[in-house]
Structures are given as C-alpha cells and as structure tokens.
C-alpha cells in the first residue's frame, strides 16, 4: 500500500447552471488498496463528485485526478484508468448479458477475454448460467446492477467508482458484493463508493466520510469508528451538531 492517493479531489467545487452549489471545496484522496465510503443525505453531492471524476461534468473550480491525470483536461486518458458502476446500471436491452459484457470489455480495450471468462465473472457477481444468454431487457434492477459490477471488474482498472452500487441488491447479493469488494481491495484497487448503507460501509470501508450540502463534514478511518455508533454519529452530523471537518494537517 503506497501513501500517495490514486483518486484525488482537490478543492473540488461545482455550481450547476441553475445556481445550485452542489460541491463546495471538497478535498480527499483514495489510495490503492483502500475503500473510501461516502455517506450523505440525498442531494449531498456524492453523485456530483463521482460524475466529475468521470468527466461527465466539468468542475467549476478545483480538479479531480485519477493517477495524477486531471479528469477534465485529459478525460480519455483518465477514463482508461477507472471503472464505474452507477446507482442504476442501464445496459443495451436488445443484447444478452454476454453481449453487453463483451461490448463493454472491448470498449475498455480488453479483447483477450474468452467466453468462459464472461461466464465466470457473471457467476462471480451472482448471475446464474440460465440468464447469461437472456436479453438484458427483461432483467430486474438487481440483475442489471450485477451485470454492471461484472463490467467494472472486467475493465480491470486501477480505480473503481461506485455510486450506490448495492441499491437494489438482495441481502445475499449485498453480502457477496462486499466479498467481491474485499478481493478487489486485495488486488490493490483504489475504490471510491457512495452509499446510504451505514452498516455495510462500516463493515468494509477503510475510510468513511460524511457529506453534507456539498461539503465533506467528516472523514475518519473506519478502525477509529469501530467502537462508535456510526448511525448516531451520522444523525448528529445531519442534524448539524458538528461543524465542518477541520482541515487535515
């Protein structure tokens, strides 16, 4: 585990065209082999942060870096180093799960996967063989989510951005997903995840941050929170009992 962060937000601010200040000078870093969980109420700015990392939107100020590459300056270069799972994975409905996997793998420049590799990864994310050749059109949200996770894993990028990846997953699938994340951490991926699932965050994250109204109000190593009631802490932050996070030394 090196100390220099692979995913980095530097005084990131975003003001939307309608004037909403979605992000207010947010700074943080995610090192390789680290799982960084962002908690926060709806509209706190989590998705906005991830979208800036993917250059789906430009920051108003500051910058997001992936492996040192500034995302809005060299978006293609940056995107080659990051995989992404959205809160609601959407795939090509006319294609089967296999075809979707194949297309996105090739889009990531991965041409060497075999049919068996695709089957393996689909099984790994919890999709049984009988749906591998079914059109994605008929998939449930959870099944699509699993496909999305499979696509992200196939990309085999050093960084992974997960926007509420477990939304729509059943408890078993959620548990399996956590095991998957652990193995990815083992492989040294830098993982940034936004989530509403406090318990799971506490279970697997290395660092837990809380966002509120576009600002990072708390950032703590999970180990230090182990003995605390995270839910209570979260509620306190949401109620505004704690001020903004003091700048890190």
């Amino acid at each position: 585990m090196t100390d220099s962060p692979y995913l980095e937000a530097v005084a990131l601010s975003k003001r939307y065209e309608d004037g909403v200040l979605a992000l207010d000078r947010v700074s943080f870093g995610v090192r390789p082999g680290q799982i960084y969980a962002m908690l926060g109420a709806n509209g706190a700015g989590k998705t906005t942060t991830i979208n800036i990392f993917l250059n789906l939107i430009d920051p108003s100020e500051g910058e997001a870096r992936i492996g040192g590459i500034v995302t809005h300056r060299e978006p293609l270069e940056a995107k080659a180093h990051v995989a992404y799972v959205s809160e609601n994975v959407m795939l090509y409905g006319n294609f089967t799960a296999m075809q979707n996997l194949e297309f996105f793998a090739r889009l990531s420049g991965k041409h060497h996967y075999s049919r068996d590799d695709y089957h393996d990864i689909l099984r790994r994310v919890g999709l049984s063989d009988d749906v591998h050749y079914k059109k994605v059109r008929g998939f449930s949200k959870g099944m699509r989510q699993k496909c999305g996770i499979a696509i992200a894993i196939l990309k085999d990028a050093p960084a992974i951005l997960l926007d509420e990846p477990t939304s729509g997953l059943d408890p078993k699938a959620g548990w399996e997903f956590c095991r998957l994340l652990e193995s990815l951490r083992q492989e040294g991926k830098a993982i940034l995840m936004s989530t509403h699932d406090i318990f799971r965050a506490k279970e697997i994250a290395d660092t837990i941050a809380i966002m509120k109204e576009g600002r990072l109000v708390m950032e703590q190593p999970a180990g230090e929170l182990a003995h605390l009631d995270l839910e209570k802490l979260y509620m306190e932050y949401m109620a505004g009992h704690n001020g903004p996070m003091p700048a890190e030394a």
Binding site: L54, A80, V82, Y84, F104
Partner: protein
Amino acid sequence: MFRVLVTKELKAILLSPRFVGTFMVGAVLILLSVYVGIQEYRAAVDHAQTSQLLSDQGLQEATSWMSASTRAYRAPDPMTIFVSGLAFDIGRWTPISTRTGVRLRHSLYSDEPMYAVFRFVDFSLIVVVVMSLFALLFTYDAVSGEREDGTLKLVFSHPVSRAHYLLAKASGAWLGLAAALAVPTALAVLMVVVYGIPLGWQDWLRLTLLLGLAALFCGSFVMIGLLLSACTRHSSVSFLTGLMVWVALTLIVPRIGVLTAGQLTNVPTVAEIQGQREAFARDQWDKFMRDGIGRWQGNTDSLGEEALLARIQTEDSLRRQVETNISDYETRQYADLRRKSERRERLALSLARLSPVSAFQIGAMTLAGTDLDMKPRFESAMDAYRAQFTDYVGQRQSESPGAGGMRIEFNSETGMKISNPRDAGALDISGLPKYVSPRFDLAPAVGSLALDFGVLALGLLGCLFGAVMLFSRYDVR
C-alpha cells in the same frame, strides 16, 4: 475502439425490428417498381417500333412527295426503368414534314391519363421517400435515445471519444441502410438483365453512379438524423423534429426553390412578347412612313425615268431594311426569352438543391437522361432529322416534278385524261434517311452531376460537423 463501436452499432441495427421492416418494405418496393419499369420500358419500345412501322407504311402510301410526312419516335432509354423523371410527361413523337416544325407531343400521361393519377413509383422515388425516412428512423434516437436508456453514461465512462461514437453511429446506420438498399437493388438489376434489356457500358456506369448518389443521399439523411438526435434530450422530440425536417426537405424546399426562382426572375409571357414585337413593328413602320413623306416631298414629276427607278429601288431596300429590323428584333427577343428562362431554370434548380432530396432527384434524372434537357435534346436531334428529310423530299420533288397531285392530260385522240399518282404506285422511300434516336452521352452531364454529388457531400459533412460540435457539449446524463 472505433471498430468495436461500429460492430456493435451494426449488430444492434441488424437485429432490430426496424431493420427487418426496412429491408422488407425496401425490397418489395424496389423489386415491384423495377418490374413495372421493365414492363413499361418494353411497352414503350414496342410502341415506338410498331408506330414507326405504321408511319413508314403511311408514307409509302402517300400520294406525293409534296405532302409526304412521317413521324419520329423518341427511343426509350433503359435507365427510365430506374428514374422515369420527365419521360412520361414529355411527348413520345413528333410529326416530321416539310411544313411543320418539330414538336414532341403525345406523352404517355396525356395519352393515358389513368397512369398519371398516382404516377409511377420508381427507384429514385423510393430512395427519396422511403430510404430517407428509414435513415431518419435509424438515427433519430442515436444520442437522445441512448441518453434516455441510460447507456450513454456507461459508454462514456469508458475512454471513448465523442466524435468516434458519432461516426460509429453514422457508419452503423449507413451500412444497415446500404444493405437494405443494395440487396434488393442487385436483385432488381439482375431482373433487368434476365428480361434481356440491353445495357451498354455507359448504362452500367450510369447505374453505378446512380447507386453512389443514392448511397450519398442516404448518408446525408443519416447525418441529419444524428444532428437532430444530438440537439435534443428526448427521442420523442427528435422523432417529431425529424419528421418535420423530412417534410420540409422532401415536399417544401424543392417547391419553394422553384416558386422563388419564378418570383425573382422576370420572364416575359408570350402575350407580353407579342405586344412588344407589335409595338416595335408599328414604330418602325411609322418612322418609315414619316421619313417617306420627307423623301417624296418636292416635285417628283421633274425626275427622269432613271432617277425615279433609283428612288423606287432605294425605297424598296429601305422597306426591306425595316422588315429585317423587325425580324432581327424578333430573333433577339426569342434569344433573350430563352436565356431568361434558362437562367430561371438554373436558379430554380440551384435553390431547390438546398435540399438533399432535390440534389438527389436532379442528379438521378440527369443520369437517366430524363431531366429538363431531355426534351431539347430529342427535339434538336429531330430538328436535324427534319432538315435531312426536307432536303431529301425537295430533291425527290425536283427529280420528278410531275409526281404528285392530279395530272390532267389532253389528247386529241383520247380526249381528256385525269390520272392520279396512286395509280403509279407507292412512293419509293427506300432512300429516305431514317431517324435514329440520339444515344445518351454522359460527358455533357458531368458538370451538373458533380454539382449534385458535391452538394450532397457538402451537406453530409456539414451535418456531421454540426453533430460533432453539438455532441461535444452534450450532457450525457
């Protein structure tokens, strides 16, 4: 990367029900239209041949060279099977005689108006109406639809350049469309060959160019669809806009071009021309008369006979001068009229070419030789033939001045005898020059064709550029 995108696009299109529908509809229409075209072509060839034969027979049975007349038939061109253009509107034959000028009359539509009610559907019309619609159908949701489906976000979380993405969309749609066009067209051409329609190398070249033009035309509508898709957030909006643009480009812009040209350029009517000519003639004669009064003033009795004769000769030449002036004026007027109406035609076509639909139609008609030049081309060939005919008839008349008309002989023994040349047998027309329809020549059409190809290519690139510019700022979320 680009190949991955194109492969996926092509796969998506070939598997989509849209493509199956497009292919079926296109195939049925093209095959049917070419089949009907072949039948029409054969009927036209038959018509021209038998009528020419009948007309030759009529000539043979004519009473005299003096009243001899025949007909010249416009030979059908096999390319009319694909692009009928004006072929059915322009007369099919002209009478050829020493007395009347050449004028093509009796078009198919005027002889058999039933066909004109719905007009023939040919390959070019299918491309214009059906293929352009399908091109829009393939592309209207290329961007907006994928945004709605949410797939755009996932695609652009990968290192994909937006220009590549658009180009891949365009290529996929265009290839799908080309397949839907090429397969039935190949079958249709095969049908033409099987039916034994004679196709020369120029015809094959024209056919190839026509297909190229059609491909370019489809390409420009693919780009229009992409452009619309990249300006809208919702596929329902892009669909509606696409439909409106289609109506504008196929139905409105070409007609507006023609109407505007009619408004902008002032081409005098026949009545105006006649009025001007009469006014000019009146002026000329008035002047001649007024000057005449001056010339004849004074004592003419004192003039000698010779001087008087000279006077009269001068007067005569002045009178002739006036006549020449008037006739020159008339010639100038007609030349001017022709120039003006040509300019108007050119302007109308140029304005109409703002729409790729007209550019394609004009190009296709030029290739098939069924464009605006069709009538003058045939008429000038027929004019040339009429000159030959008149020469020949004149020659024959001078050889046997007696032939023709009634012949009345007085003989002291037999009395009066009236004979008819019919008794002398039919006219010998073996030496009469035969009318040969002009072969279509591609060379003079190259300029106009280059313009059509150029307009289509330029429109295509313009739309592509616009689409890339718009899409570079498109919010893919």
